[in-house]
Symmetry: C2
Subunit: 333 residues, 2 copies
């Protein structure tokens, strides 16, 4: 296991210590480093809390900041934060306008956020929940509620964060975020596994010339495993899955996110974007916003995902709003 | 070779096509995709041109943008741009105040930039040159002029870009950039090789439990190869090289850049930063600016580097200035 770590058991805490040392804009609630919040809460604003396992930086905590999120519960590598941790964050970030829980559709996270929400309710803090479920490979049409949340959640963070910063009430932030969620589709491909430090060996095996389309960000099984094809053919095959669920006849505007899973060079993400843009243009779409880089990783996994959010007149301006976190800076044009 | 590419010969051009499709703020001069410039030149400002081989994104072209650079000559993977390409960029970006060539200390780049400068001179365009030579592992004290330029050049871009944007004359931009160069030290470590697409095999071999301290970003030999140590011990050893050349007795302020070489997860960079901050604090330094992420890569190489710029009252405000390129966004606090 070739990693820059000390004792694997301390990996997440030492990473968090590094983050707090580097970025005074964020801090932890009390003694627990896993309860991650921004230091500048906004009075009367709907607060937004995310969370999930470590090992996906800049997901999840990286989106806590101006015009984005207010706090995150941070679990161990690929582990959910506890309900107590989510509750601690909830108490800290609540500014009287309620709290939106916004995270990916995984059973451990659902359980712990739901429990935290119930406990917060007893304390008079209103909460609501929207889960990201953008991974088209993880369940068929008609069963979208079963889909996993992957990189497309960044669009949801953007929309929810901008809506909350515009001081919209909780119900309206929820409505807009749900709309963005219903219009976001992601398809991924993995070329190599990652290594969870405490496990110490690769999360799965894959042949030296193979790829797996649709693999999840924790190595969950995908749709098809086969020989690696040229990039353009691969993008065409991936985008078929997206185009099967989106049509740009009447609503043409889209936001696109090309996400690297960890080890894939930025150069290759631009090769992927090139073909994605060609495919979308041919399908009649008009690309309004582009994000290319590492937004939701699986540590050193090689691979990439393509996310497309179909915009409307309500969502486009929310994606366009500037944002500023230690890990994500979006400057409005 | 597991890469998202089509024909390896088209890799750089297709990457560049992707970049131009994604980012309307930049374009190419004439037909040559390798002559990369921003679309909004600033009248009367000193123009800054960088360049070098592809395969290091966001280096080099990623720093072309507001308050940073004006153009870049882009070579093939790990290959210098030609003198003609640099000259084309020079002609395009010159706004009558002269052009600073700012790039890493590699013989191919030196030759081609020097030739371009001579040709520009014949056309009445004044040029000056500063080269990054921050890699302490590449030559001993007393022979700093032989050192290679690596991730620390980002500090030089920041300083030069801010100085030029403040409409300082060429000689003053050169003086400040030279000062930043003289005060920047970088030490790197590699855990794995990368694969140049047109070569198709790893650039070097390294044992499954080995690291090489001081390796260059093209796989140039380092100082020592040995068994991978825990992160803290490794940082201590690396920082010894930096501390041997910097003392914080009178000038305490520093900027720190923890750079990932490609495949190393962001989580590990924060573990490295944690220890780096501890070491610097113990040495009496005061960390004023922190940059952590991928700033100068070697495609999918696993590894990291630590850069420290010792600031003074002139340099600190230049590092603090905001910047906005498609690949690098710095929001002034």
């Amino acid at each position: 296991m070739k990693k820059f770590i000390n004792n694997p058991e301390n990996f997440v805490d030492e990473m968090l210590e590094g983050i707090y040392l580097a970025h005074p804009e964020v801090t932890h609630v009390g003694e627990d480093l896993h309860c991650y919040v921004r230091t500048t809460p906004v009075k009367g604003k709907v607060a937004i809390v995310t969370g999930g396992g470590s090992g996906h930086l800049p997901l999840f905590l990286g989106y806590v900041g101006d015009n984005m999120l207010d706090g995150a519960g941070v679990g161990g590598v690929f582990q959910s934060p506890s309900s107590e941790q989510v509750l601690e964050v909830t108490r800290y970030v609540d500014q009287g306008a309620g709290v939106l829980y916004l995270y990916g559709n995984y059973s451990g996270d659902l359980m712990n956020f739901d429990m935290a929400g119930e406990l917060a309710d007893l304390e008079g803090i209103e909460t609501a929940t929207v889960v990201g479920r953008d991974d088209v490979a993880s369940s068929v049409v008609g069963e979208e509620h079963k889909r996993r949340g992957v990189a497309g959640i960044v669009f949801l963070y953007k929309v929810a964060g901008a809506a909350a910063s515009a001081m919209k009430p909780l119900a309206e932030v929820v409505r807009l975020t749900e709309k963005a969620s219903a219009r976001t589709r992601t398809i991924g491909v993995a070329l190599s596994p990652c290594i969870v430090p405490e496990v110490g060996k690769p999360s799965f095996e894959i042949g030296a010339d193979e790829m797996e389309i649709g693999m999840g960000i924790h190595g969950e099984p995908g749709i098809t495993r086969k020989k690696l094809t040229p990039a353009d053919a691969l993008v065409d095959e991936m985008m078929e899955r997206v185009l099967a669920e989106q049509s740009y006849d009447t609503e043409k505007d889209v936001a696109v996110l090309i996400n690297g899973l960890g080890a894939t060079p930025l150069e290759e993400l631009y090769v992927i974007y090139r073909r994605t843009a060609q495919v979308l243009e041919k399908a009649g779409a008009n690309i309004r916003h582009v994000f290319i880089g590492e937004y939701a990783t699986s540590m050193e996994m090689a691979g990439a995902s393509i996310s497309v959010l179909q915009l409307d007149d309500e969502l486009e301006p929310l994606i366009a709003v500037g944002a500023n976190t230690p890990f994500f800076k979006h400057i409005a044009r």
